[in-house]
């Protein structure tokens, strides 16, 4: 043994494509992890970070295979082992914490059953010992009701708790290395803080080495000792956390860092005319599902009596965690999900609650752009067909005029003309989102509702899309309602921000006052957004009452 716990040397992984071609997706990667050290693999989707982490267990996903190199864990080369020998190491020496614990827990078995399974498979200890060990881990991970939580089924436990239970499941075999595969990506920011703290404490306590896979530099800054920056399956830069954050050498790393620090909105002159009527006025809008109760309220209400106002040419941000009703509010404004009560007044005229009750022109003026361009674009139609339809439908265009307009629209969103005949499946994520946006522009709307449109994109790509939105606003005089869970994105583009919690508007603020929110939930939410500062998590002090009140762990 040469000292390091994990030594990856010249690793190459190949994937087989549909056409039967083999493509190298990991190209000559080498890295080391010392005992007790946490190394972060950072990169965008498709950079191969999860693939590399998985090779520590000698595992590749279907269609992939290790083509060369060595992956030594405690001196044993995982590449050369037989499947049975690898199985003996999995769970005992190397363990795995998945991205989505909700999917990784078997719905048919109790949590305790699954947490202690490693002990049973490898015959590490008796059933009683295993339960005791699990209990101590539950306590160490600050899980509520540690005595009884193991008797529940996965669907009876919240996402943040499941994620920590997955860590308990990984730690029970006392592994030397734990693979953390984006373990907090699916969580809300307020929950993420707790989970990160638990991970950090428990790995330090047991002197466990870790490989932490993430796309989020700020999260990684809190937990990693060293950072490895990946792109297209090869290492771009390696360094200690402070080296990477403060003194990045590689241009790609700098680009990542730059995308993380979005420029604030250069604001136009503050409301020149206050006498003008607002573009959109929403009064006491209540949206929900189920039969209407006697008092006119829905059985399950998702949005409760929310009011807002938006002036022409300005932007409104709606922020909140998953399930707070922000997307539902946007859908109600668009007329997709008819509101139960309240008024939507657009340009001085009251709109019908359902889209069916609005005129074609009213529908044209408010366009909505969805988060997932994959499902928002019909996969069976070419980009050209997708863009042509609103032109024909709203503007009665055809033939050459329409084709010219399609070219103009592609130009507006900075897409090359060559994508015209492509299907959405053949475009990259960022390109798809641009087509999605171009379709909304084709209607020539006054207001565009952007529902988490950057959430599914990589940081650098998302930053470019936000820039594009600003540019189009200057050129076309649009207004946006920007829905997001990501404060930095909203901050970058909006003139005013609404904070929502459990279907209610808790606060309305301007970016100028962002530093001094009044409502405790807003304060909790804003303080939970990770900063690039590695000491942020350790120094973070949150109001314990607020955490208890608003955090559904």
């Amino acid at each position: 043994m040469t000292g390091n716990l994990v030594e990856i040397r010249n690793l190459r992984v190949e994937a087989t494509t549909d056409a039967g071609r083999r493509v190298e997706i990991i190209k000559d990667v080498s890295l080391d992890i010392a005992e007790g050290e946490i190394v972060a693999l950072i990169g965008e989707s498709g950079s191969g970070k999860t693939t590399i982490a998985m090779t520590l267990m000698g595992y590749t996903r279907q269609g992939c295979a290790i083509a060369g190199g060595e992956v030594r864990v405690a001196g044993v080369d995982m590449v050369k082992l037989s499947e049975a020998e690898r199985a003996r190491i999995r769970g005992t020496r190397v363990a795995y914490v998945p991205q989505s614990a909700a999917a990784a827990f078997n719905p048919a078995l109790t949590i305790m059953d699954q947490v202690t399974e490693v002990a049973r498979i490898h015959k590490l200890m008796s059933a009683v010992e295993a339960r005791a060990k699990a209990l101590s881990l539950f306590k160490a991970l600050s899980l509520p009701e540690p005595e009884t939580i193991g008797n529940r089924y996965p669907h009876q436990v919240s996402g943040g708790q499941l994620q920590r239970l997955a860590a308990a499941m990984a730690l029970i075999g006392q592994p030397k290395v734990v693979i953390f595969d984006e373990p907090t990506t699916a969580l809300d920011v307020t929950t993420q803080v707790e989970v990160l703290r638990a991970f950090k404490a428990v790995t330090a306590q047991h002197n466990i080495a870790g490989i932490y896979v993430s796309h989020d530099l700020a999260v990684v800054a809190q937990i990693a000792d060293r950072i490895v920056v990946l792109k297209d399956g090869s290492v771009q830069e390696t360094g200690t956390t402070s080296q990477i954050l403060d003194d990045a050498q590689h241009p790609y790393t700098r680009e990542l860092l730059a995308a993380f620090r979005p420029k604030a909105q250069q604001r136009g002159p503050e409301c020149e005319e206050t006498t003008k009527r607002p573009l959109l006025q929403v009064d006491n809008l209540t949206v929900g599902y189920g039969p209407r109760l006697r008092d006119g309220q829905p059985l399950i209400s998702v949005v409760q009596a929310v009011s807002l106002e938006l002036d022409r040419g300005r932007n409104l941000g709606i922020i909140g965690e998953s399930g707070c009703g922000k997307s539902t509010l946007a859908r109600a404004i668009a007329g997709i999900l008819p509101a139960y009560a309240g008024d939507i007044i657009f340009d001085g005229r009251e709109l019908g609650k359902a889209g069916r009750g609005r005129t074609r022109n009213e529908l044209r003026q408010i366009q909505i752009v969805f988060q997932h361009a994959d499902t928002a674009l019909n996969p069976a139609k070419s980009v050209e067909d997708i863009l042509r339809r609103p032109l024909t439908f709203y503007h009665g265009m055809s033939g050459k005029a329409r084709d010219t307009r399609v070219s103009e629209l592609l130009g507006l969103v900075h897409l090359p003309k060559s994508v015209r005949h492509r299907l959405p499946g053949e475009l990259s994520g960022g390109q798809k989102q641009r087509v999605n946006f171009a379709r909304a522009l084709a209607a020539e709307p006054t207001l565009i509702l952007c529902d988490e449109i950057t959430s599914a994109l990589d940081t650098v790509v998302a930053a470019a899309v936000v820039e594009l939105l600003k540019e189009l606003q200057r050129e076309l005089g649009l207004s946006y309602i920007f829905i997001s869970h990501d404060l930095s994105v909203v901050e970058a583009i909006c003139d005013e921000i609404i904070v929502m919690y459990r279907g209610q508007k808790v606060e309305e603020i301007t970016p100028a006052r962002l530093t001094a929110p009044q409502h405790p939930y807003t304060r909790l939410l804003f303080s939970s957004v990770p900063k690039l500062d590695p000491a942020w998590l350790d120094n973070l002090e949150q109001n314990a009452d607020a955490v208890r009140a608003y955090c559904r762990q």
Partner: protein, 316 residues
């Protein structure tokens, strides 16, 4: 939680009942309303118009369709299945012994096919991609692609013509010993088992493979679990619903199979009775046989549905 399960189960039963009503409606109207006058069929083309009219009156054929349907339904519920046109015997008497014979055949087949198919289907999924799996897959595709009578004729050719182990035809009334029983039932049961198992193996394998592709099975693999453990402990409990469903659906394939098998082996069951009834256009007999088969099918499917609800851990 418990109340939710009960209400779901009750809902399934209700759906089955509604379906049964729609089915009986369809069966009755297909046979009684489509062209072809019952009285003319009974009396033959040469009968006088007066005689036909008399018979129509006697059989209430001039009543509106809906009245006749309700009268027929009421009869069914009270156990009065009507009288056979062909030989004036009550349908209940014709069917009684035959039904037992068919149940024997079906029961024997099921008791062999279900364990066999589950074993083959689950093991094929467990060793997915191996030669064993490929042989099972190709064999089942082959079997479900060919008509039952072909399986039957091939079985006769093999066992009766070339090997001379078994008689080509079966007669249940000659059974005197266990050996006779074996010889009589062997051919029909073998034929049915092959067809039913092939269906069941395919569906079971597909259900298990689908659960094997889930993240929680990958997680178990990364905990160091062996293949049998992955399949038996992690995949099977979650595939239970689809597997029970596939068993029920395949067993209902038995219903189609017995029609051919009873005819080809001259086996005195309900299906043979029904085929003969179709040749003679004996409507009351056809209707009753059809209702018996539909009831059997619905019972199986509904039972499977309810088991699937009960086995869902989210409802526990």
């Amino acid at each position: 939680m418990k109340r939710q399960v009960t209400s779901l189960a009750v809902r399934r039963l209700l759906i089955a009942l509604i379906t049964l009503v729609i089915v009986s409606f369809a069966v009755f109207f297909a046979t009684a309303l489509l062209p072809g006058d019952t009285a003319t069929i009974l009396l033959g083309q040469s009968a006088t118009p007066e005689a036909i009219e008399g018979l129509r009156k006697a059989m209430h054929l001039n009543d509106p369709a809906i009245v006749r349907f309700l009268r027929w339904m009421a009869g069914l519920i009270q156990g009065d299945f009507g009288t056979s046109y062909a030989n004036n015997v009550s349908v209940a008497n014709l069917i009684r012994g035959r039904l037992a014979n068919t149940m024997k055949l079906a029961g024997l087949t099921a008791s062999i096919a279900v364990p066999l198919a589950l074993t083959l289907g689950i093991t094929a999924a467990m060793w997915r991609g191996t030669l064993y799996d490929r042989i099972v897959t190709v064999a089942t595709i082959g079997i479900i692609s060919v008509p039952e009578f072909m399986i039957a004729t091939l079985a006769v050719l093999l066992f009766a013509v070339y090997l001379r182990w078994l008689p080509a035809l079966s007669f249940t009334n000659e059974v005197k010993s266990f050996y006779d029983l074996m010889r009589t039932y062997a051919m029909p049961v073998v034929t049915l088992t092959i067809g039913v198992s092939a269906q069941m193996i395919r569906m079971t394998r597909a259900a298990v493979v689908e659960t094997l592709n889930t993240p929680y099975v990958e997680m178990a693999l990364l905990k160091g679990a062996s293949r049998p453990r992955l399949v038996l402990r992690h995949a099977l409990p979650n595939a239970l619903g689809p597997i029970v469903n596939s068993v029920a659906l395949s067993l209902s394939y038995l219903l189609g199979g017995v029609i051919i098998v009873e005819t080809i082996f001259n086996y005195p069951g309900v299906a043979k009775l029904m085929v003969d009834a179709v040749s003679t256009r004996d409507l009351p007999l056809i209707q009753t046989c059809a209702m018996i088969f539909c009831l059997g099918y619905l019972t199986l499917i509904t039972a499977a549905d309810i088991i699937a609800v009960l086995s869902n851990p989210r409802l526990r």
